[in-house]
Symmetry: C2
Subunit: 105 residues, 2 copies
């Protein structure tokens, strides 16, 4: 079961647009100050760098991802999560759309 | 001055993707039940149809829009709004990015 809504947040109205719009997200801040983002990746193969560690939670669609130092592409679909270490990279490929929540830290 | 955040909302985690990703938005619901969306339009010329009347508030970037029945393209930039009647259409053209809040009703 994937997370359909996040309640009691402040949403930043201006979107984050990455890779010419292949990834678009909006930042949200929870009442306790926790920051997350909700976004979508459209058909593409992209490489993301992390600062803080991230947990990517799929809330719709699917992707395949490959962590730095791994040769394996792993599928992640709705309701599934994967973790990315801080100061690292991951590749992600999307055939249709990958809707996600990015949890930091 | 444009609206940088909307506070105390429930955000729908799954994005709305229109026109192959030329327009991406997320729905938010305020505590009183009011629904809005926050989104971005990327470089394109698009035609949108309305159900309910809409007020489009620019929170970053700019667009030009043309309402149904008008021949005039009108610019709208950060902090500016325009209204679209219900059951109507409007054209919008964006050169770089148009970040918006869509207020309904």
């Amino acid at each position: 079961m994937s997370t359909e809504t996040i309640d009691g947040v402040s949403v930043t109205t201006r979107a984050n647009v990455y890779f010419d719009g292949k990834c678009v997200s909006h930042n949200v801040t929870l009442a306790d100050g926790t920051k997350k983002s909700v976004g979508v990746i459209l058909p593409a193969t992209l490489t993301f760098s992390t600062g803080a560690p991230e947990i990517m939670e799929c809330v719709g669609g699917a992707c395949e991802y490959k962590l730095a130092g791994s040769e394996a592409w792993v599928k992640s679909g709705a309701g599934e999560r994967f973790s990315v270490p801080g100061n690292s990279k991951f590749e992600i490929r999307v055939a249709d759309a990958y809707h996600y929540i990015c949890h930091f830290g």
